[in-house]
Symmetry: C2
Amino acid sequence: MTAPEWSTDPSLLDTRRLDRSGVEPQGRPAAVVFPRTPEQVQEVLRDAYASRTPVVPRGAGTALTGASTAGAGAIVLDLTRMDRIRELRPDDGVAVVEPGVITAELDRAAAAYGLRYAPDPASLEISTIGGNIATNAGGLRCAKYGVTRDSVLGLDVVLADGRLISTGRATLKGVAGYDLTSLFVGSEGTLGVVVGATLRLRPLPDPTVTFAASYRGVADAVAASVALATARIQPLLAELLDEATLDAIDAADGTQLRKAGSALLIVQVDGGPREAADAAAVLGLAATDLRSTTDAVETAELLAARRGALPAIERLGRPLIEDIVVPRSRLAEAVPEIATIARRHGIPICTLAHVGDGNLHPIIVAGRPGEPIPAAAERAADEIFGLALRLGGTITGEHGVGVLKRAWLARELGPVSHDLQRQLKALFDPRGILNPGKAL
Amino acid sequence: MTAPEWSTDPSLLDTRRLDRSGVEPQGRPAAVVFPRTPEQVQEVLRDAYASRTPVVPRGAGTALTGASTAGAGAIVLDLTRMDRIRELRPDDGVAVVEPGVITAELDRAAAAYGLRYAPDPASLEISTIGGNIATNAGGLRCAKYGVTRDSVLGLDVVLADGRLISTGRATLKGVAGYDLTSLFVGSEGTLGVVVGATLRLRPLPDPTVTFAASYRGVADAVAASVALATARIQPLLAELLDEATLDAIDAADGTQLRKAGSALLIVQVDGGPREAADAAAVLGLAATDLRSTTDAVETAELLAARRGALPAIERLGRPLIEDIVVPRSRLAEAVPEIATIARRHGIPICTLAHVGDGNLHPIIVAGRPGEPIPAAAERAADEIFGLALRLGGTITGEHGVGVLKRAWLARELGPVSHDLQRQLKALFDPRGILNPGKAL
């Protein structure tokens, strides 16, 4: 076995110490290692275990929480060179991949067989399957097709001491033993290092019909999205844009979205003509404007507002992307309350939501990039987390805990659960070398 | 707080020491307790923890593995009186239930709102949600809509020492902390006692179209089922009946199924007219006979063969229902190999399969009820488990490990994983009182 490539070049290390969260770790990691095989990962872990050196596993570094930041003394385990699709077995509905495979590339490879890899985080063109697994990434179409965990059948994992285990199964179903697979998914590299994954592929659905419906306010838009379920419609995608977001897009792109209504709902369905007709009827009931299309170019136009939201908001200042979930029925309370929080602290907050599963992304505009984050922005974030828990929700829907939300995680879990989770961490990582200070 | 009802009446105890596996535990349990509240479960566990008394949680006792058998000295925790649907929130797509709720009753309650609880084990009219969670029960429609784990959002669990925790969330999405929910699902009561569950409800789909397609042999039937995925069709249900099963049904019911072909494939789709037409074309390609219907009475007739299979096989002798999974593409090897195993041991084995997910139920006819199980039947079962592992599959798809499959579980997991699972068990249950001798 050859030793893995590694580097201590300061300029290279500086590209591997940050993620997209804005979190600044103390100091610079000791080295970055680029393994190409599970055996090389095992070797790195064995050495780190013996020397009690912190190891920070890393994919594309698109985490929004600090989960893949690395400070002084750490070894960064950059897994992006383990990027092969090892097997794609259309008859089994299964793919076996290395952790560095880019999510969208797997999806495109599956499409050649009439299949797809369903989870679609916004970062899918640059983020890796390994990173998606570490954070249990969601996405737009997870309302219907599930989050990353729902597509992971089995994992190859290197444990803290360098031993390799396989969890789960290579089949679509199986219940042998405790579900270690689900435990590793979303654990942000703190329980083991994923070096291989067996993933579920699903048949590509019917072509989609896309709707863009404007409403007088958020309450009407939420009511329309809830009414879809009652009408037996499971949208593939249901995205809500609030008034502040529409204003930001109009200012950036010269559109007139806000004029058509102060809330915009973008919905896609893929269940065939009957479902599409029913969706049009339900969405149209209270809409001030309703457009729909099956044409690819027009679909892109209708989706442009959603895709353009973050760039438009970035023109206002540095975006802090929050990620709470509330029960769907409480969305109509949550969105105006977030607007109230924004006014109280004198800070713009634009809210996007995956309404199908109640997942809100309030985007706090927190000063200018490079400047310190204003205290008012942090207070607003705190109030948003408190709101999520008060409405019976959670502090993170799909981005994870990382460094930023550890204090709030303790509040959400309560002392008994939190203690149990710490004991789990200690069982898997008795020397505390795996991405220390993250996730818990 | 009032103390829970309990009994030491021997005739009552005898109804609580067995499940549907045929496993005979040694002796008779000490008592059966009927809690009605989580607090009463906590009280039982606190006492049992202090006195190191084994506790066997139990729902309807439909386990096929010995998981809910209880021997001398054990306290049986019968949870069937905790049977309330606490909340049904259609707007949130969520139900909150006690563990003793009958699965089919929850599904019917949801249907009143255009929703459903998707997991449908064969026992759904008598088994409980708590039991379904303990075994991560599957069912016919899980090929499309997932197994029990895919519908469990959060749990209330009493730990071994009597402390109560809530895992997961009340929302459709969330990634705060390690996924304890998935760890408890399928753990057969060995890590904690589920006293409440927050479950996902999904929109009822389009009306189904049901097909019954006969083929010359299993290979053609499997090829047809695999071709569905390639044609972008995700069947709700796809059931394969082999030659021995068709013979048994014909003998019991006076039908002529075997005459139409030596393998029968029953398929339901719920994706609308386009999908139904495509399914007819794909299934018809190599079929020797193809029938389809949307009529409720005719649907019941087409499904009658599947539903009547087990009663027909029971006329041949005591059925041992096995439960292996292989990659879908290996089904065409697995079914004839099982027939070869049957011939080699001179024992009838009838095979049913959920082909969508590769889950086979070879039913070994093992002498007469009340007589000892013939050694040849046990050898045949062993060879079936070996076959599953050799084809890259698993020894249990949806029934679990219980008592019967512990030795094979160790082989499937390998020593490192098995050891890790034992350490997990020790972490959650340091005194070994929770359903000891099961699942691991």
